[in-house]
């Protein structure tokens, strides 16, 4: 089908909306409620209005399906008038405190306001009355309905910035099935909130903060704590960085998604004053060794199956809250962050004769939920809090900008070798399917005792939300599945519960495409951005000299000198955890 836009003819597919055709062909339309992860659009922001020859007046291009003979005009007098007045109305519904805002320079509303010249204010901003969250008691006497929440360790909400685009509601409901948010109240007092404005009760995946066009929902800011630690001469700041961060940090400084920035990342952290920079990928390799061991044990003990991966704290929390019957199926292995961290405060501290008390263990994560994971009481392996501060990629970038550090101008640096040597298998943790592939690379060799000819397991790769494969390993047909996004996990759990599926090993990631789509990653996100990030990850794995976790020389050394063997008593104590039934039923 062909349609005309601004008198030019374009190809279109049945089912396309006007907006999707425009986007494909580089015709810019302002959008706020539309998001590539949230299709179909609901048409609530009325920004993308256009005129067509098939309707009287304006139609929202994000909801209008194309049809034969359609002619669209995107820049008429009426279209521009609508954009301008609606943007002005919206701007006045927003706190507009740009200079002090976390999302300054990365705010979709700010971008539109700049583009459409909202410099003269027609209306008095109506959310400016609120001075701080301290003045509000959320549950009582909150007639203004302004919500300010920092009650959890992951997600901050501040409805002064909210423009009611509903992306958060939709991503939480449609992608994650958690439905933590909804609309409260009516008319101009309409507000995004939780039921009865209880504190946020969710899995902290942070997808809401990744799709929020403004700063209404953001990662909880822990930058100040980090700065304090850096400034304290008595403290030794030891940082670890997650596998995916090296592929996304560049986006915050204008690089294309997927750009490999490992050296820049390390250099920037050193420039900030971090004493040691270690690699969470080593933690990932460690996870693989422990998890492969656990899988082999389960095969020997005939279950319980399936064994679920446990790297994703949002998935763990989801299972604990909604599917407690599957707690015995969760791998007891901690996540890479929580495996590396206790080693820092025990193994590394002992070797280097550092008082663990002086160590501030910081991790740079793609994830808001890791902030929560670090706070789990039962997670700590050392006698201290294993991870003291968790920063998301966005927070790190914000701090770098604040300190005027531009990684592009820095000379690349290497991780500190003590805990900074890694393999391609660990790098794969950055994306959905990666834990599975890394585990298979190790498990297959361990079970068969033979070297793998080809290390790639293409059958578990891909972008589809749920993938499964059957792999012959030494007489055993190992059935595995990989799911990402909670909606797909939920489907799979239901299938397993109803006896319709039967797997040995299942990888679950809460975020779309795994950690490279994490809730703490740079914005904007979307399928295209994530695809480019995945390509970066894959290319890096290929280039790595070591591609199997059990070949990691540092790990071999740590097992030899400290842990013994996978599943040893020491390993159990430091690297494994337990789970709690958090269901309300």
């Amino acid at each position: 089908m062909r349609i005309k836009i601004n008198n030019k003819s374009y190809d279109a597919n049945p089912g396309d909306t006007i907006l999707s055709v425009c986007k494909r062909n580089g015709i810019r339309l302002p959008t706020l409620c539309a998001h590539p992860d949230l299709l179909p659009s609901e048409g609530v922001c009325r920004m993308c209005l256009v005129e067509t020859n098939q309707s009287n007046g304006l139609v929202s291009s994000c909801t209008q399906k194309i049809s034969d003979g359609l002619e669209v005009k995107t820049e008429t007098e009426n279209v521009n008038r609508a954009r301008k007045i609606n943007l002005e109305l919206l701007w006045a519904d927003h706190a507009g405190k740009c200079a002090s805002c976390k999302r300054n320079g990365r705010c979709e509303l700010q971008d539109l306001a700049k583009k459409y010249d909202i410099d003269e204010f027609k209306f008095v901003p109506r959310k400016n009355e609120l001075k701080s969250g301290d003045e509000l008691d959320l549950l009582k006497n909150n007639w203004k309905h302004t919500v300010f929440e920092e009650k959890n360790s992951c997600i901050s909400r501040d409805s002064q910035y909210c423009i009611e685009c509903r992306r958060c509601i939709r991503i939480c409901r449609d992608m994650q099935t958690v439905e933590a948010y909804g609309m409260n109240y009516r008319s101009s007092e309409t507000n995004v909130g939780t039921p009865f404005e209880i504190p946020l009760d969710c899995i902290f995946c942070g997808q809401c903060s990744a799709v929020c066009p403004t700063a209404a929902i953001t990662e909880k800011d822990d930058v100040t704590d980090f700065e304090k630690a850096l400034a304290d001469p008595k403290k030794m700041v030891i940082v670890q960085t997650a596998p995916s961060v090296r592929f996304t940090l560049g986006e915050e400084f204008g690089e294309a998604p997927g750009t490999f920035w490992e050296g820049k990342l390390v250099a920037a952290l050193k420039k900030l004053g971090c004493d040691k920079v270690f690699d969470t990928v080593l933690g990932a390799d460690l996870t693989i060794l422990e998890e492969a061991h656990e899988l082999i044990q389960r095969v020997k003990n005939k279950g319980p199956f399936p064994m679920f991966t446990s790297c994703c704290p949002s998935w763990i929390l989801y299972a604990e809250k909604y599917w407690p019957e599957f707690i015995p199926n969760l791998s007891s292995c901690k996540s890479p962050q929580q495996m590396l961290a206790p080693l820092v405060k025990t193994y590394y501290a002992e070797r280097e004769k550092i008082n663990p008390d002086q160590i501030v263990s910081v991790s740079i994560m793609p994830c808001t939920s890791k902030k929560y994971e670090a706070q789990r009481k039962e997670i700590n392996g050392s006698e201290y809090q294993d991870v003291d501060i968790v920063l998301t990629v966005r927070e790190l970038a914000r701090l770098l900008r604040k300190k005027k550090i531009d990684p592009r101008a820095l000379k690349e640096k290497k991780f500190d070798p003590a805990l900074g040597i890694s393999t391609g298998a660990g790098i794969l943790f950055a994306q959905s399917g990666g834990v599975m592939e890394a585990a298979l690379r190790t498990a297959v060799e361990k079970i068969t005792g033979e070297r793998l000819g080809k290390v790639e397991f293409e059958m578990v790769r891909g972008e589809s939300g749920a993938r499964c494969a059957e792999i012959e390993v030494g007489g055993l047909k190992l059935r595995v599945a990989v799911v990402h996004e909670i909606r797909n996990a939920k489907n799979l759990l239901e299938e397993i519960k109803n006896g319709k599926s039967d797997y040995h090993f299942v990888e679950v990631m809460a975020c779309p495409n795994g950690c490279i789509g994490g809730g703490g990653q740079p914005v904007p996100t979307g399928p295209a951005v994530r695809k480019a990030r995945i390509a970066g990850v894959m290319a890096r794995d290929k280039k790595m000299p070591l591609r199997k976790s059990h070949e990691n020389p540092v790990l071999k050394k740590i097992y030899r000198e400290f842990l013994g063997h996978p599943g040893s008593e020491k390993a159990e104590e430091l690297l494994h955890t337990k789970y709690i039934n958090r269901s309300k039923k």
Binding site: G57, N86, L90, A92, M183, S188, T190
Partner: protein, 408 residues
């Protein structure tokens, strides 16, 4: 010609016998025993009956769409959410002749193949809800509602669903969301409810007054009905006269009648209340247009016309009224009742209300005057559902007609 009000105050709404004695449920019997569903739909189509809720969509066509859509389950809903300020015609039908509505629902449900029907009633209509409950109970006892209607294979259950009084829930898709237990907000159309409505199933939503016409059409035939009223929109209509008119209240009159006649004819309004001088009339509720004396001669019917009839209310405003009060009352209503879903309505009605307060206090600025025009324009042209447009209708007329009085 009385179709709807014929037996008002003659029958006892609490006793079903009183209704059947006047021929009540005869149409249902005819529809079930002598006609097949296609015939019923065809008859309604032929009658030219249009929806009385305000939009004036041909009822028969709506039924036809739902009847055509194959589905295991279908729903039939009577919209009794009446919440336009000053309109209370549906309430009156429910109160004075509840079985007329129920009979309409039963015929409709049989025609489209719905086994479950709802009466979505405004939460403020407690008394009427009780009356309908009694009526339904009696209809069940008489086997007019239930597993086998009049001994036929047709079975239907009717449930009364109480809304919470939101104006927007009178909009059919918002009404559906409300029944589904969701927030009452309009949905994207298409799909239209007759194709995918309540819980995604084909659903008819008809105004209570529309349904009250059904028994007459089935019994007397589409032809008889189509000869009443105007050719484009046949039948009679319940007009609600309010304001400075002598006989306030509900008057049944054939469609096509002029506002002039409704206000001044002694059969209806009987002229201005004593001592009052006509200024203008608002036709169609709070969302209606303003008609000055010179425009009262236009005929009121569904279809194209300068003064959309809407739900059929006429507010007669006399010269002692203050336009500023009216402006505030309109703005206040729509600001309160905006559902908050789309930006221009949520913010536009708020800003209009803000300015209305200042107009009332004679504190209006030059910037306000400019903003009014922009707000009214965006409400009229960019909102998700028609409510935003409604909020601007009277204001636009008032700005054009009375700006000297507003900004004095």
């Amino acid at each position: 010609m009385d179709i709807l009000t014929k037996n008002w105050d003659k029958i006892d709404p609490l006793r079903i016998d009183s209704y059947t004695r006047t021929g009540g449920y005869g149409a249902l019997r005819k529809a079930i025993r002598e006609m097949d569903p296609e015939k019923v739909v065809a008859e309604i189509k032929m009658s030219g009956l249009r929806g009385r809720g305000g939009a004036g969509f041909p009822t028969g066509e709506k039924w036809g769409m739902a009847a055509k859509t194959p589905a295991k389950e279908k729903y039939f809903i009577c919209n009794l959410d009446e919440s336009e300020p000053g309109v209370h015609k549906d309430r009156a039908i429910a109160e004075k002749n509840p079985h007329q509505i129920i009979e309409g629902i039963l015929i409709g449900a049989a025609a489209v193949g719905a086994k479950k029907a709802f009466i979505y009633i405004n939460g403020n209509y407690q008394k009427q809800k009780e009356i309908l409950e009694i009526a339904l109970e009696q209809a069940r006892e008489k086997e007019l509602v239930g597993k086998s209607v009049m001994g036929s294979a047709f079975k239907v259950e009717i449930v009364i669903f109480e809304g919470a009084g939101a104006y927007i829930c009178g909009e059919e898709t918002a009404l559906l969301s409300s029944i589904e237990g969701k927030r009452g907000e309009p949905r994207l159309k298409p799909p239209y409810p007759p194709v995918a409505g309540l819980f995604g199933k084909p659903t008819i939503v008809n105004n209570a007054e529309t349904l009250a016409n059904i028994p007459f059409i089935i019994k007397q035939g589409a032809k008889t009905f189509s000869q009443i009223g105007s050719s484009a929109s046949p039948g009679t209509k319940l007009f609600v006269l309010e304001g400075a008119v002598r006989n306030r209240g509900i008057h049944e009159a054939p469609l096509g009648i002029t506002a002039q006649e409704l206000i001044y004819n002694s059969l209806y309004g009987g002229g201005m209340a004593s001592g009052k001088e006509f200024w203008f009339a608002q036709i169609g509720g709070a969302s209606g247009r303003l008609a000055p004396a010179g425009k009262l001669d236009q005929s009121l019917s569904y279809g194209p016309g300068e003064f959309p009839l809407g739900c059929g209310s006429i507010l007669v405003v006399d010269k002692s009224a203050d336009i500023k009060d009216l402006l505030f009352s309109w703005a206040d209503f729509f600001h309160r009742e905006s559902c908050g879903k789309c930006l221009p309505c949520r913010e536009g009605t708020y800003r209009l209300w803000e300015i209305a307060k200042r107009i009332k206090n004679n504190d209006v600025s030059k910037r306000d005057k400019e903003n009014i025009e922009e707000i009214l324009w965006t409400l009229s042209n960019t909102t998700f559902c028609p409510l935003g447009n409604f909020a601007a209708v009277a204001w636009k007329d008032a700005m054009r007609m009375f700006s000297d009085k507003i900004f004095n």
